[in-house]
C-alpha cells in the first residue's frame, strides 16, 4: 500500500529531514511512527501526500508512483488518503455535519450520496447526536472524532494521523485509539505519527522509529522505545 525506496529529503536550509529511508507498509496494517520532534515524522506524512517531493528515492502510495506525478493527478492521490491532525483543522463556521459533508462536496459527490454517508460515518465515530453542533461546542475528543469522520467519510484506503492525540487527555486518547483501531479493522491502512508512549505500548502494533531522519527501528508488535 505504501512503499519508500531509499528516500532522502533535505530542506532548503540544509536540514536533513529523512535520510535513505526504505519501508514497506502492507494493506490493512497499523503502523506507529515514533521519534522525537524534528525526527522526520511530519516530513514522512507530507511526502506520502505529495505535499513535498523527495530529493531522491521512489515513493509508491496506493499503487501510484509519486515521483514525477503530474500535479493534476495529485487530487486523485489525496482522495485515497484520509488525514487527521493534532489541531483537528475543522471549519468553525460549519456544523459537524457540514464539516464532514464538505469533504464530499468539494470532490463533487452527488448530494444523495452525501446525505446518506455523512450520518453513517458520524454514527461510526459516535457523534450521531451531535450532527448540528458547531466545533466550539464540542470537547477536544469530540472534535477529533469529527476530524476522523471527515478523513474517513470518503472511505480512503489509507488513514494518515499526525499526532491525533497530541491535544487530548489520556482517557480521551484511549477512545480515539479505539476508533482508529476500528477503522483499521475495516481494512484501512493506518499510519500514525505519535509521541504518546503509553498508547504505543498498549496497542502493540508495528513501530517505525525515526531519529534525525534515519529509520533506526522497524519492529512488529513493538513498544515506544527500548530505553523508556
Amino acid at each position: 500500500m505504501i512503499r519508500l525506496d531509499n528516500v532522502t529529503k533535505t530542506y532548503k536550509n540544509s536540514v536533513v529531514a529523512l535520510k535513505d529511508v526504505s519501508l514497506e507498509i502492507a494493506k490493512g496494517e497499523f503502523v506507529f511512527l515514533v521519534g522525537p520532534s524534528g525526527s522526520g515524522k511530519s516530513t514522512f506524512i507530507k511526502l506520502l501526500l505529495k505535499d513535498e517531493d523527495p530529493d531522491s528515492g521512489e515513493i509508491f502510495v496506493a499503487g501510484k508512483r509519486l515521483n514525477r506525478m503530474k500535479s493534476w493527478r495529485i487530487p486523485a492521490l489525496r482522495r485515497e488518503i484520509g488525514c487527521v491532525f493534532q489541531d483537528f483543522k475543522l471549519l468553525e463556521n460549519k456544523t459537524v455535519h457540514e464539516n464532514v459533508a464538505f469533504a464530499l462536496e468539494v470532490i463533487g459527490k452527488p448530494r444523495p450520496v452525501i446525505q446518506r454517508t455523512v450520518p453513517e460515518v458520524l454514527e461510526l465515530v459516535g457523534l450521531g447526536s451531535k450532527a448540528d453542533a458547531y466545533p466550539h461546542e464540542l470537547s477536544g475528543g469530540e472534535q477529533q472524532r469529527v476530524s476522523i469522520a471527515r478523513a474517513f467519510v470518503n472511505r480512503p484506503r489509507i488513514l494518515l494521523c499526525d499526532e491525533p492525540t497530541g491535544n487530548l487527555d489520556p482517557t480521551t486518547s484511549v477512545g480515539i485509539m479505539k476508533l482508529l483501531d476500528r477503522i483499521n479493522r475495516t481494512g484501512t491502512t493506518v499510519v500514525m505519527a505519535t509521541h504518546d508512549q503509553h498508547i504505543v505500548d498498549s496497542m502493540r502494533r508495528r513501530v517505525v522509529e525515526l531519529s534525525d531522519g534515519i529509520m533506526v527501528r522497524d519492529q512488529h508488535r513493538g513498544v515506544y522505545g527500548y530505553g523508556s
Binding site: L49, S71, W72, I74, P75, A76, L77, R78, R79, I81, C83, K89, L91, F102, A103, E105, V106, I107, G108, K109, P110, R111, I114, R150, N154
Partner: protein
C-alpha cells in the same frame, strides 16, 4: 453536479458579501473604466460616421476672381469637366451665391443688409470622384488664371475631427488606467478572500479537491464583479445616449448619430472585457496567494 453548483454559488455569495466595501470599490472602478472605454468606442464610431458623411459631401469650392474673363471661365469649366478626378461641376454665379446666402441667414436681417450681390464671389462647386483626393485637385487649380481661392473645407473638418480624436484618445487612456486599477482591486479582493478562506482551501487540497474546483469560487467572484461593473457601465452609456445624443439628434438634424442599437451592441464587448480582465487578475493573484 447540483451539490457542486450550490457550493460554488454560496461560496461566491459569501466571498462577495464578506468584503462588501471592497466589492463595491471594485465594481465602481470597473464601471468607470468600462463606461469610459465604451464612450471612447462610441465616440470613435460617431467620428467615423461624421467623417464618412462630411468627406463624401466635401466639395472643392473654386472661388473666381471678379476680374475673370469669360474665356478664362469657360476654359476652367472645360478643364474641370475633363478632369478624371471630377465627378460633377456646378457653377454658382454671384446672384445665386447671394440667394443662397439670404436663405442661410434669413434669421439675421442685419447681416443680410450688409451684404450685396456683388461682394459674394462666383464659384465652381466641384464634387470629386474620390473625396480623399481633395488636396491634389485643390492644388491643381490654385494658381489658375482668374481663380481667387480654392477653399479648403477639409481643413475646417479636420480641426473638428482632431478635437473628437483627442477626446476619444483621452477617454481610452483614462479607461486603460482605470482597467489597471480595476485589475489591481480585483486581485486585492481575491487576496483578502483567499486569506480569509485559507483553512478551507487547505482542507480542500487535503481531501483531494481539484485545483480548478478550489480556484473557481475565487475566479467567479472576480468575474461577477467584472460583469456587474460592465452591465452598469452599459446602462450608463444607454442613459447618456438617451439624454445627450437624443437632444443632439434633434438639434443637428443633418448629422448621422450613433443609434441605440449600436450602444446596446457595445455592451457585450464591455461585459467580455470586464470578465476577461477579472479572470486574468484572479488567476495572477491566485497563483501568488493560494499556490494552487
Amino acid at each position: 453536479m447540483a451539490a457542486r453548483w450550490r457550493y460554488l454559488l454560496s461560496e461566491v455569495g459569501i466571498g462577495l458579501r464578506r468584503n462588501l466595501l471592497m466589492t463595491l470599490a471594485t465594481v465602481v472602478t470597473v464601471t468607470v473604466s468600462l463606461a469610459l472605454l465604451g464612450a471612447g468606442l462610441l465616440v470613435q464610431r460617431q467620428v467615423n460616421k461624421a467623417r464618412d458623411l462630411f468627406y463624401d459631401q466635401v466639395e472643392v469650392s473654386i472661388y473666381l476672381d471678379d476680374s475673370i474673363t469669360e474665356e478664362q471661365r469657360a476654359s476652367l469649366e472645360r478643364d474641370l469637366n475633363e478632369n478624371p478626378e471630377v465627378e460633377s461641376v456646378f457653377y454658382e454665379s454671384k446672384e445665386q451665391a447671394y440667394q443662397n446666402f439670404r436663405e442661410i441667414f434669413a434669421d439675421d436681417p442685419n447681416l443680410l443688409e450688409s451684404v450685396t450681390p456683388d461682394i459674394l464671389p462666383a464659384s465652381f462647386r466641384v464634387s470629386l470622384v474620390d473625396p480623399e483626393n481633395f488636396a491634389v485637385v485643390a492644388s491643381q487649380y490654385q494658381g489658375y488664371p482668374g481663380v481667387e481661392q480654392v477653399s479648403d473645407q477639409r481643413e475646417v473638418l479636420d480641426r473638428f475631427f482632431r478635437v473628437m480624436d483627442a477626446f476619444r484618445n483621452g477617454a481610452l487612456a483614462i479607461a486603460l488606467l482605470q482597467l489597471v486599477a480595476a485589475a489591481a482591486l480585483i486581485s486585492n479582493t481575491i487576496r483578502i478572500t483567499a486569506f480569509a478562506r485559507r483553512e478551507q482551501t487547505g482542507i480542500m487540497k487535503l481531501v483531494g479537491a481539484t485545483n480548478w474546483y478550489i480556484r473557481l469560487p475565487f475566479v467567479l467572484e472576480g468575474i461577477v464583479a467584472g460583469v456587474v461593473g460592465a452591465l452598469i457601465a452599459g446602462g450608463l452609456l444607454l442613459l447618456a445616449e438617451s439624454t445627450l445624443v437624443t437632444r443632439l439628434r434633434d438639434e443637428i438634424s443633418f448629422m448621422p448619430f450613433i443609434t441605440t442599437g449600436e450602444v446596446v451592441a457595445t455592451i457585450p464587448i464591455l461585459v467580455l472585457i470586464g470578465a476577461v480582465i477579472a479572470s486574468i487578475a484572479s488567476f495572477i493573484s491566485l497563483r501568488r496567494f493560494l499556490s494552487v
